[in-house]
Structure formats: structure tokens, C-alpha cells
Point group: C2
Chain length 601, copies 2
């Protein structure tokens, strides 16, 4: 290797080293020369249609691969992407946002440059970015740039949240010692203090042994706390045999074929039996919580702190202040590992009788046969379509009726579900799907995985970011999209304005998308297929069709649903949203002692 390399090469090789293989983004005149270094670093340039979509795609990619990257241009490009970066922050997706900026001399001169506000201030956009990223690097010299890059990449990986890198045009080819690349970016975490950890492990195990009515709730951040944590969570569920649910955000982390898996705990929006049982538990093990209103069904699934052991990334809360404490500097991975190592399974209480919390698999099998001529309804669609899923699939459910309904999916082992559970930016999921499909292709090529990329998308959401279908096709990604066409923003109709015209969307001819976006015609290596299902019979024939099942090429299945149909759980949930919008702080639920204020802490 040469003694010196250019800074842009250093940056992209560092990204390669930490697992990035595809770079999302849009070219712009302050980043063009940097893009010359993408392919030589072994990376694929995706080339999105716009920056917001590129940001969404990098986020989706990151949720599968553990890190993603997006390149935009100063000002216009980066601001277009900032909503995606905000989402990555809120939902803990590790995205590196690289911004091509004007040269350092231009910036120092305060010149009135294009893509600036014209006031000579080149820091405004970085100041905005700092609010939605966990680390920032404004590269200003060849001397400090490598360590700055390493610092933010490390934070991106450790905190699983976005970081921001400004690369001025004049530093792209600044010379950096090539030898710096041979020291890997360390993401090791200091081991937990043995003595301290031992004490907490013993405390937690004693509570497990003593539990009479235990419950495990696995939430979505569990999968963000580093490689291996989700596997340990699964092991905890398996060896204890304790009844386990996930939150909406956590769905897909736990193997849903385990006999003690009982679906999503939906609080006031769920089945009557579930919440009273959960609220009378004497031990709740809670992993990786995201306490947002939607993820907790209006704060109704947050368990009583007194009986709860909450595992965060670097700390554990055991009970409430009067009978426990919040123990910092204990990383979840070491902690769970030690609990599992020390747990004497024979002393773990067996529930007898085991509570009847429902088995999603049995519920799916118990569904009545459909009327082949019948209209497809939201209330059973998500269960029924689950027969289509296979191991290795990555399933994405867009915010709106798909994400609410998708809580009823019955997932095979090793299936990843991606939804949004606090940021809820509609349009995200189509962009994310492009990134996920790329990540999936890389994983398959590495031999580590098989499976498809399957998106459930609403019509209103699709319209937000539709052009990324072009990016999927141009990059020849294998994607299956179910477009749930119900003639507008149905989730919003249920919140407010059932008949209001502002909840309508234009009646697109969705199945013509691939053709409009330039899909190759009759390309045997990359097939385009489009289908429409307006009845259960049509849908079931499609789901049974081996060509639909193969997941190859670009497939779109338009599913026609009625405008006002929604999953039952959504109808219940929106009542609490309406109350909060009118100024009522919390939905009053009988027996619910959790207030919104406490929930926010």
C-alpha cells in the first residue's frame, strides 16, 4: 500500500472496515470529487432520487447491517435528509451522514456561496445536524481528520445513532498516512465491573427464582445494543420459559415459534385478558424499552416500576427507588450473559397453570376460511398474509394501517420486522426498503442468509417517496411490495376527518410504477411482475403462486381495501390519540397507575 492516501479514500475505507458495502446519497457539486473514491474503496454507489429517500434507505440498510451511510451536499442536500436523520436518532439507527461542503478557504472567507443562506455563515446547517446526531466532525485539516473520522464512527457504532461528517472539497485529496488504516476502529466496551455486576446478577436471579407471575417484554432497542444482545434475549426467553411478549417496536426480535411467545402486548388496544394479567405480575423483565405513546399503546403497557427489571444499554433498573435502584455502567450484553451463565434452570419457577395469553400461531390456524369473493379486510389480512413469510425474510410495515396491522403478523424464525414506533414519518418505509433490499442482497451474497425483502405500504405513504422504486429497479434489487390501496390516509381518517377531503390522495395507477420508472421490459434476469387482488380468492391465489413467492426481481401486489376499514386495534388506539390532542394528558385506564409524566422519564 502507498505511504499516503487521500482523505476521501481513508473515510470510505474506514466505512468498509466497519461493515458498509453500499453508500446511499445524491451527487452534488460539493461532493462530486469525493464520490470518485467510493468504488475504489470497494463500495457500491446507490444513487438515490432525492436526499430524504437516501437518508431513509441508509437507515433501513443500517437496521440490517449494523451501520449505513449517506452522502449529501451542503445546505440543500443535507437539509433534505435531516428528517431521515432525526428518525435514525429517535429509533437508534446507526447512520453516517457525510456532507460535501465548500472548501475551507471559501468557508473562512465568508463568501456568498450557492447552497448557503447568503449570510457568510457556514455553520448553520451543522448546528441543526448536531441536534439529531450523537457526534459530529467538521474536517478542517489533514492532520486531525483521521482521528475525527474514527471518533464519530466509533460513536455511531457504540450509540447506534447517526453521526455527521463535513468533508470540504479541498480536503478530499488531502494526504493521510495509509498506516492509520491498519489500526481497526475499536468498538470494544469496557468490561462491567465484576464485583458490581455479580451483585446485580445475584439480585436479578433471586428475583427470577422468587417470581410467582413473571413476564418478559422485549422492546426494539434490544436489537440496537450491539451484536449478540438479541440472541441473549432469545436465550433468556427460552430458558426461563416465562410468558413473553414484544412491543410493536420489538416485534421480530424474539423467535415467534417459542411456545411462551404471546405476540405483541397491546395494552388497552389488545385483548381484554392480557392487560389485567400483565398488571398483576410480580416480576417483569423489560429489555430495551422505547416508551413512546404508540409503542406503549398510550403508556398503558409500561409495567409498574416496583416489579420491573429494566435492561437499558448501559444500565439496569431493578424495582423502584424504595426497593431497588438504577445501576449504571453495566452493559446489557455482559449482564445478560452472566445471568444466563449462572441461572440454575431447575430453580426457575414453572407457571402452573400457565396463563392463557393466546398463541398467535394457533390463532392464525383457527381463522375461518375466507369467502373467495369477499372483500379483503384489514382485521385479518395481516394474520392471513403471514403464511407467505419464510425464514430469512425481512418484512417492513409502513406507518399507518400496515404498521398497526403488522403487529398481528405471525413470523417464522429468523425473520426481521422493521417498523417505526416513535418517529412515524410516512414514506420512510419505501426508502428504507431500498436500503434493506441492498443489505439483504449483500447478506445473501456473503452466504449468511436467505430470504426476501417484503414491504407492506399504504397508498398515501407510497406517494411520499415513490421515486425510490426507480432506485430499486435501477440497482436491480429484489423487492416485493404489497400496496394497500384504501384510497387515502386511513389512519388519519380514524384520528380525525373520516370524510374530510384533506385525507384523500390522488388515485394513482400504482401497478404502472415500474414501467414509468424505466424498468427493463422482458429482462429474464430481472423480472417485473404486477398483480392486483380485490378479493380474498385473488389474494390467496397470488400468495400461493410460486412465481410470486420466489421474491426475485421487482414485484408489486396492489391489495384493494375499503376506505374506512382499519384493524380493530387501531380503532381503539386512536381514541387515546384524540384525547391527547384535545389536551388530555393521559388516557385514563381502569387500574392503570402509570401516568404519562412518569412514562416520559
Amino acid at each position: 500500500m502507498a505511504e499516503h492516501i487521500d482523505l476521501a479514500e481513508y473515510l470510505f475505507r474506514r466505512l468498509y472496515q466497519v461493515g458498509v458495502r453500499g453508500i446511499h446519497g445524491v451527487p452534488g457539486d460539493y461532493n462530486l470529487t469525493a464520490l470518485d473514491y467510493v468504488a475504489p474503496a470497494g463500495l457500491e454507489w446507490v444513487g438515490n432520487c432525492n436526499e430524504l429517500n437516501a437518508g431513509y434507505a441508509a437507515d433501513g440498510y443500517a437496521r440490517v447491517k449494523g451501520i449505513g451511510a449517506v452522502v449529501t451536499a451542503f445546505g440543500v442536500g443535507e437539509l433534505s435528509a435531516i428528517n431521515a436523520i432525526g428518525g435514525a436518532y429517535a429509533e437508534m439507527a446507526p447512520v453516517v451522514h457525510i456532507v460535501g461542503t465548500p472548501s475551507t478557504s471559501i468557508q473562512n472567507s465568508g463568501a456568498c456561496m450557492h447552497h448557503s443562506l447568503g449570510d457568510g455563515n457556514f455553520r448553520i446547517f451543522a448546528e441543526m445536524a448536531a441536534k439529531v446526531t450523537v457526534a459530529q466532525a467538521s474536517l478542517t485539516s489533514a492532520h486531525t481528520a483521521p482521528s475525527e473520522i474514527d471518533r464519530v464512527l466509533r460513536q455511531c457504532l457504540l450509540q447506534s445513532r447517526p453521526v455527521y461528517v463535513e468533508l470540504p472539497t479541498d480536503l478530499v485529496s488531502a494526504k493521510i498516512p495509509a498506516s492509520l488504516l491498519s489500526t481497526p476502529i475499536s468498538t470494544s466496551i469496557p468490561p462491567n465491573d465484576e464485583g458490581f455486576e455479580d451483585a446485580e446478577v445475584d439480585l436479578i436471579i433471586s428475583k427470577i427464582y422468587a417470581a410467582k407471575q413473571p413476564f418478559i417484554i422485549v422492546d426494539g432497542f434490544t436489537s440496537r445494543y450491539g451484536p449478540g444482545v438479541a440472541a441473549l434475549a432469545n436465550e433468556l426467553v427460552r430458558v426461563t420459559g416465562f410468558p413473553c411478549s414484544t412491543t410493536p417496536f420489538g416485534k421480530g426480535i424474539i423467535d415467534e415459534t417459542l411456545p411462551n411467545f404471546h405476540g405483541v402486548y397491546a395494552g388497552i388496544a389488545g385483548k381484554q385478558v392480557y392487560m389485567p394479567w400483565a398488571q398483576s405480575c410480580d416480576l417483569v423483565l423489560r429489555l430495551g424499552p422505547l416508551n413512546s405513546d404508540v409503542n406503549t399503546f398510550g403508556f398503558t403497557t409500561i409495567p409498574d416500576p416496583k416489579v420491573t427489571i429494566t435492561f437499558h444499554r448501559d444500565s439496569v433498573e431493578v424495582g423502584s427507588a424504595d426497593n431497588g435502584g438504577h445501576y449504571k455502567n453495566l452493559h446489557i450484553k455482559g449482564l445478560l450473559q452472566k445471568i444466563l451463565d449462572r441461572l440454575d434452570v431447575s430453580r426457575v419457577p414453572k407457571l402452573d397453570p400457565y396463563p392463557d395469553l393466546g398463541c398467535p400461531r394457533r390463532q392464525l390456524r383457527a381463522l375461518e376460511a375466507t369467502d373467495p369473493e369477499g372483500t379483503i379486510d384489514q382485521n385479518t389480512f395481516y394474520q392471513r398474509v403471514s403464511t407467505f413469510f419464510r425464514e430469512g425474510d425481512i418484512v417492513l410495515s409502513e406507518t399507518g394501517t400496515p404498521s398497526v396491522g403488522g403487529r398481528d403478523f405471525v413470523l417464522p424464525k429468523h425473520t426481521q420486522l422493521i417498523n417505526s414506533s416513535i418517529w412515524l414519518s410516512i414514506g420512510y418505509m419505501l426508502g428504507a426498503t431500498q436500503g434493506v433490499a441492498l443489505a439483504q442482497r449483500e447478506l445473501i451474497a456473503d452466504g449468511g442468509r436467505k430470504g426476501r425483502t417484503i414491504l407492506f405500504e399504504g397508498d398515501g405513504s407510497l406517494q411520499m417517496t415513490v421515486q425510490e422504486i426507480s432506485t430499486m429497479i435501477r440497482n436491480r434489487l429484489d423487492v416485493t411490495i404489497f400496496v394497500l390501496n384504501n384510497d387515502g390516509y386511513t389512519i388519519e381518517r380514524w384520528i380525525h376527518g373520516m370524510e374530510a377531503s384533506y385525507n384523500d390522495v390522488a388515485p394513482w395507477r400504482y401497478l404502472k410504477a415500474a414501467d414509468f420508472f424505466g424498468a427493463p421490459q422482458d429482462d429474464k434476469e430481472y423480472k417485473i411482475s404486477t398483480h392486483r387482488a380485490a378479493t380474498w380468492g385473488e389474494l390467496e391465489r397470488l400468495l400461493a403462486d410460486s412465481e410470486v413467492q420466489d421474491g426475485k426481481g421487482f414485484k408489486m401486489i396492489e391489495v384493494i381495501m375499503t376506505k374506512e376499514d382499519a384493524p380493530e386495534s387501531l380503532k381503539k388506539l386512536v381514541q387515546t390519540v384524540q384525547k391527547r390532542n384535545s389536551g388530555v394528558l393521559d388516557a385514563k385506564v381502569e387500574g392503570d397507575k402509570i401516568t404519562a409524566k412518569a412514562a416520559a422519564q
Copy 2:
């Protein structure tokens, strides 16, 4: 009228009073109830496909109507739009950004709400917005909200820049005294100090009388300094007879049929004769300047301050410090009016011989006839297509080859040209066109105008914001779009990466857009027409076709150009961009004494 009205009604009626008729935006759960008040206030709800496009549309609308408004939802919606708001700030478009936010009690509780980052901080996005707006109102009580709304609307109008309004869900129906509506929002400006103004007017007039080689440069902000200023600028050009040019940003403000109008002064990118002549002037009257690199052709058209009188909104700079001064608190409107009132036309010097700066109309007529089979070239396309324009048209040229080429348009009287000259966010112009077409329809309905809305759009740009074609069609707007299909980001190819794959875009089937986006088929009241021109003969037949000319319905003309073709002026210009990107602060130009640093001040 009732004694009290709801706050949302107050807000929308105030918008109506200051000239808004159409509201852009996207529904979201924190703004839904507010949207119920749009139609009753006499306003049209547009319903865009996404928030960035809605922001662009509101900006385009504002550039025609003098004010525009966009409604988004907290967090996700507003951040998606923030790039558009930044552009409105940089280019002085008066846009009111209304954000539906969580209820005040929720915000005060710090709850972990959807569309937030989950940290209980509800001020983050407002802090970002404050960086790209000139006034902000966080409505928190019925008592103060009306005056807060009035304050920001006044600033929006006076400063011609965006403002930001947060409307929490619980304040939507807060009761406001209806009588407040009967006091109009004052946009009057204090009259200039008579004695002070008189002195400056006399000084300026004396310099006009004494000039041997005078020049007028009209820039784009001239049209942002309030109603009537552009007319006064035209009158100044007409009565003095001084040679006049516009900047790229100012193009369209001055009647191009005046004999002393000489097109865009393009500095180093222009004709050889122009810059030496301009730089040897002894008086330059400069109106409403935007000193950005692209608008000044790499700072080469900024005249010597010593000989320049620069008219800003509220001040005038006469000469440089040693022989003049910067006089504040003099509004351009009063100042220009008094200059025109007092000017003795007989004492205004006549240039003899009049300099040969070229006449765009004569240059157009002198063009050789095209080869009907010949390829359409960028270098003469923009001149030739000018024969298509008519009085009252609003012409939009997207950033990239269209905006550079569009400097060669030869415009009829009363034709507005919209381009971007500092923000340069590609994709802007398609969104803006939707807003402009709505504004144009309103002006036509008011009987104040006739004319079409005509967009020149690049293929790469179109891909950014394409779904707003759906919004045009759904709102039955009359729009004519020339899609310049040259197979990628050609302007970027010229800057860097002529053959680089990152400058490619997917080969869409552009003419299928309207069909994909759900256009009605065979609707006699709203016709869809699509055409392709690959040769001069095909283009000229289309331009002469009365059905193409009528401007009714949705028309798309795809113009095929070669990938590497660009206007000559662009090829020259990008050399300076390349230099600056490599760290050279200023393009060295012989005889150019203006530095980038001075230009930025």
C-alpha cells in the same frame, strides 16, 4: 359575525386577508383538526404528496402572489420541509410555515410522544426553524396568540422571508375575540425622513446627470421589496435610457422589449465585449443585489463600489467610503419614486455613440434556421423556444442546464421568470410550478392576468420531486412542462465526472407520468397531452401547434438532448466552480479588482 371565533379560524382568516387563497401542505395527526378551518376561511387546501414539495409549492406561490403558506406536522413533517424553508429564506420568498404541534399540556409534561426524538424536548425543531425564518410564534395561550400571529405575518410580508408558527392541537379551538379581525395587519413602512431623503436623492440625481458611461443592473431582490418597486425600477430604466442588464436572478423584472435592455450581464461567462465595458463605467445603478457566486458569475459582475449606487430594501450605498456612504433607513420605494419625480429627463446624458452590448431580440431573429433533422442543442434551444412565450406567462427554469440556458430566454412584456440563484436545490422548480400554477389560476380568475405556467425541467431534477405532477393533475392545474432529457445530471458532469456513473439517472418513461399519477382519461375539461421532440423539426412543429400553445390542462413535452451538451456559458462558468472547489478562493480575471471576500460583505 360571532363574538368569538376559534384560533385556527383566526389564523386562516388572517392569511386570507393578506392575500393567501391556497394552502399547501400535508395532513398529519397534529394538524388535522386545524385543517377543518381551511375551507371555511375561503381557502383552498392543495394537499401535496410530501412536505418538501409542499414547501417548494408555497414558495413558488409566494413569488407570484406575494405570500404563501404551508402546513405540516410537528417533527417529521416540518423537518421534511425545512430545505424548502431555507430556500425561501435565502431567496426571499414570503412563506408562512404553520406546524401542528402536540397539545401544550403534552409538551409541558415532557411525554415521550410520536414525531419527537423521545427525549421530552419539544423545542428542538423550533430551534432549527429559527435559523431559517425571520420570525417565530410558539402559540401557547388564546390571550397572546392573535398578536403573535399578526406579528409574524407582518414580518413575513415586510421582510419577504419565511416565518414559523407552532399551533398546538389544544389551541386550535381556543376562543378569540372576532373583532380582532377587523383591524388589518399593517404592512405600512414609516416614510423616509424627508430632509435626509432629499439630500440623497439630490446626490444620486447629480451623479446621474454627470455620468459619462452609466449602467443599470437590476437584480432579483428588487421584486421582493414590496409591491410597486419593480414598476419603479422599470420606469428608471425607461426614462434614463441607460444601458440596462439584469442578473440571472433579476431576469424578467425589467421589460425586455425596452431598447436599452441588453440581457443578462454574464461577466466572465458572457460575451467578450460586455465585461470590459461594464468595468469601465463611471456610474452603475444597482438594484436589489444578490451577491452569490452563481448570480455574479463567480463574483465577476459585482461593479466597482466607487462608481456604484446600490439600492437595498431599506438603504442605499452611494460610492465607496471615501466618496460616499451607506445611508440607512431609506426605503427603496420612496427613494426611487422621488428620484423619478425630480429627475429632469432633459439633463440625463444620452450615450453617443450608444455602446454595442447586443440586443437579445435581434440576436434571436438573426439565428440561422435550424436543420429540421438536426439534434436540438442546448446552446440555442433557450433562445429559439422563446418564440413560444406570450405576455402574462410565468416561466420557470430549473437549476441546472435549464436555469443557465434560460438566461438566454427572450421574454415578452409582463412575463415573470422564476429561477433559483443561490439556494439551487434541484427539484425545487417542479414543486414551485405547482404553486405558481395555482397562483396563476387565481390571478386569471381575478381578471388581473392572462398567461400560462411553463416549466423547463431537467430529468435529474424531475426525479427529485416528480410526485407533484400528481398534485397538479389532482388540482386540475394548467401546466406545460418541457422535460429536458439529457440522461443525467449534466451540469454536474461539467463540474466533475463527465463519464462517472454517479451522474447517471434511471431512464424513466417520462411521458407516462400523467397516466401513472392517475390523470383522468378523455376528460374534455382537463386534457392531458404528451409529446416528444428529438429534432428541431419536431420541436418547431410542436411549438407552432395551437393545442400545445393553449396552455390548458397538463402538457408534457420531452425534449431529447445529448448527454454532454450544455450552454456555452455553463461550460465557462463551471471552470470557476472547479477552481473554488479545489480551494482557490476566487477566479482570477484580468482587470477584475473584486475579491470574493469583498463580494461577500
